[in-house]
């Protein structure tokens, strides 16, 4: 495989990583919650796509809005009725709380869906495009485009809509936002819902081109974390750049070290960035656009 091919593969995968990371970054940046359940939510989204495709033959791409809506509701309810209770608690408490949710979701999925590896591959997934000397599956290009569209949509949502502005205002100054009539409780719930919906969309995208299983979450959680650190927290561009960078490094590292050691590279990158440049490659201090 040529380096150019590896680069393209890495960039296409990196777009998906960016979607995983922006949702995680949004929740972290706005509420200071490390959402350990992010990987589990992604897995739920992947299974929504899989079951719709498998049971009713719905086109996997058409299931993305369904999984986003479903995950938005789930995320909204989780934040509204569970996580909001501890927003002011020490950071470890929310960490443990979301960890508990992740364990429950994963356990139930393992019970209902079994540990079998699955995938929602549509019939047309074998078609490829020749660009120069490169072979690129059409589906992966579509996935990357959708991923970029979702990231851009979040950008517009945060910058141009009233709710987006309210979320940013809440992040910048809680007390002033309250005085301006922002209902913090529901804004937090919406923020978490949006983060969960992005995780769901990412899960749906993953299920089309990759294998899924109930325990797929934790590795993606760690990637999301690494990418947020790489790109700088609370910054959509940063997550996109971090995601692309991570995808490329992983794709080359897999060739040089073997796929079994891929996660080591990610972890090494994470520790290195945290030590050398803790604010990230494009770091800004707060949630800014």
């Amino acid at each position: 495989m040529t380096s150019l091919q590896l680069l393209v593969n890495g960039l296409l995968l990196g777009c998906l990583y960016a979607v995983i990371a922006v949702g995680f970054s949004l929740v972290w940046g706005v509420m200071n919650i490390i959402n350990v359940a992010h990987g589990a939510l992604l897995m739920v989204g992947a299974y929504i796509t899989f079951w719709l495709f498998h049971l009713w033959g719905v086109d996997p791409f058409a299931t993305i809005p369904v999984s986003m809506a479903g995950l938005f509701v789930l995320g909204y309810l989780l934040q509204r009725y569970l996580f909001n209770r501890l927003v002011r608690a020490p950071i470890f408490m929310t960490f443990i709380l979301t960890f508990g949710v992740a364990l429950i979701v994963e356990n139930l999925s393992l019970y209902w869906f079994t540990a079998e590896y699955r995938s929602a591959r549509p019939a047309y997934s074998s078609s490829v495009v020749h660009i120069g000397g490169l072979l690129v599956p059409t589906v992966r290009i579509a996935l990357a485009l959708i991923a970029v569209a979702l990231t851009s949509a979040l950008f517009v949502f945060m910058g141009r809509t009233r709710i987006g502005l309210a979320i940013r205002a809440t992040r910048m100054n809680l007390e002033s936002a309250k005085l301006m009539g922002v209902r913090i409780g529901s804004i937090y719930a919406i923020t978490f819902g949006v983060g969960a919906a992005l995780a769901g969309a990412a899960g749906s995208l993953m299920s089309i081109a990759y294998v899924i299983s109930p325990v797929m979450g934790p590795p993606y959680l760690l990637r999301a974390f690494t990418i947020c650190i790489l790109g700088g927290l609370g910054n959509i561009y940063g997550a996109l750049v971090g995601g692309l960078l991570f995808g490329v490094v992983e794709s080359f590292g897999g060739l040089w070290l073997g796929t079994g050691f891929q996660d080591v590279i990610g972890m090494a990158m994470l520790v290195l960035v945290l030590l050398v440049r803790p604010s990230g490659l494009m770091g800004k201090r707060f949630y800014e656009i």
């Binding site: 490390i34 569970l82 909001n84 209770r85 501890l86 927003v87 002011r88 608690a89 950071i91 470890f92 408490m93 960490f95 443990i96 709380l97 960890f99 508990g100 949710v101 992740a102 364990l103 429950i104 994963e106 356990n107 139930l108 019970y111 309250k178 209902r183 913090i184 409780g185 934790p218 590795p219 760690l222 974390f225 690494t226 650190i229 073997g258 079994g260 050691f261 996660d263 080591v264 990610g266 972890m267 994470l270 520790v271 945290l274 030590l275």
Partner: protein, 326 residues
């Protein structure tokens, strides 16, 4: 602990517990003895996790790594290098402690969320690497160890006493720390790391020491566990549940105390024996639910909640929610 009478009571209680623990293996049946042996091991997890998590304030979610390293050190030492068990056991503690120093030097510079997630990540990574080093570790297929010499009852008792001995050692270390300069240093770091550094505590050395001590005990427990089960595989000894259990049991009993983790483990083991061990496929979900209940209702542990009454703890939680909601 104020007053001579209270101290005398505490000593009496400790002596009584120790006597019961020493007599138990000659009285109870095999099933119970097995249960007690694993309870001692879990108690050891909680007590030694508490050195870093409770005393120093650094929540590690990756302590299963040290357990796994200890287990593999004994397995590789005995099977591949042909060393006797006791030598391998020393190696398991050393290997875990050395690994803790190696990763602790960079990672302990991180605080809060960062440290927690990085330790979680290291856990995942090491498990992946061990599964892939097939030549040394047998990969996903695991390693089989020789069986402990002697009759069935001897074996049961031997492992019980090994676990008990290691647990006592870890308790002694925590006791020593709580009454020494180093321990005060650790607590100072927990309360305010910058201030601790300002008054001249070498924070890095303290944190690495706490990390290594805590890891060493996990390594030794892992080593004993490997010889006890005579078969280990990465999915079992690097199970994230080991880290999660340590945290839950410590939180149940109370962070940063000597007997808290011990009591937390006993509560937890009784709960799990009578409640959810009958529904093994939902074990992890129960653990998750327990974590949620702990942080919502008993954020300072059962002991504290019992002091102010469960109602008091609940009222505090509700007050917290009210204060937040508009």
């Amino acid at each position: 602990m104020g007053g001579r009478r209270q101290r005398a009571l505490a000593v009496a209680a400790a002596v009584l517990c120790l006597a019961l623990a020493l007599a138990a293996p000659f009285v109870v049946g095999r099933y119970t003895l097995r249960f007690l042996t694993s309870t001692l091991m879990f108690a050891g997890f909680a007590v030694s996790w508490n050195i870093l998590g409770g005393l120093t304030g650094y929540f590690s979610f990756g302590h299963s790594v040290f357990f796994g390293i200890g287990a593999y050190a004994v397995a590789i030492g005995m099977v591949k290098a042909g060393l006797p068990f006791w030598v391998s056991l020393v190696a398991s503690g050393l290997a875990a402690a050395l690994f803790a120093v190696a990763i602790g030097l960079p990672v302990l510079r991180l605080r809060g969320h960062y440290f927690a997630l990085v330790t979680l990540g290291i856990g995942e990574v090491v498990r992946g690497v061990v599964s892939n080093l097939t030549k040394l570790t047998g990969g996903g297929g695991g390693l089989s160890l020789p069986i402990f010499p002697g009759g069935v009852d001897t074996i049961y008792r031997a492992f019980y006493f090994m676990m008990l001995g290691t647990l006592l050692a870890s308790l002694l270390v925590v006791y020593g720390l709580l009454h020494s300069r180093i321990g005060y240093g650790l607590v100072a770091i927990r309360e305010d790391e910058d201030a601790a550094q300002m008054i001249g505590i070498s924070t890095t050395a303290h944190k690495v020491l706490a990390f290594a001590l805590s890891a060493m005990f996990f390594g030794v427990f892992g080593g004993i566990y490997a010889y006890w089960l005579t078969y280990i595989e990465p999915a079992d000894v690097f199970d994230i549940k080991i880290s999660v259990l340590s945290i839950i049991m410590t939180l149940l009993g109370g962070l940063g105390t000597l007997v808290g983790p011990l009591l937390g483990t006993i509560c937890f083991q009784l709960l799990s024996e009578f409640l959810w061990n009958r529904l093994l496929e939902f074990h992890t979900a129960f653990l998750g639910a327990l974590m949620i209940v702990i942080v919502l209702v008993f954020p300072r542990g059962f002991i504290d909640a019992a002091r102010g009454g469960v109602r008091g703890a609940f009222r505090r939680t509700v007050a917290n929610v009210r204060q937040f909601a508009e």
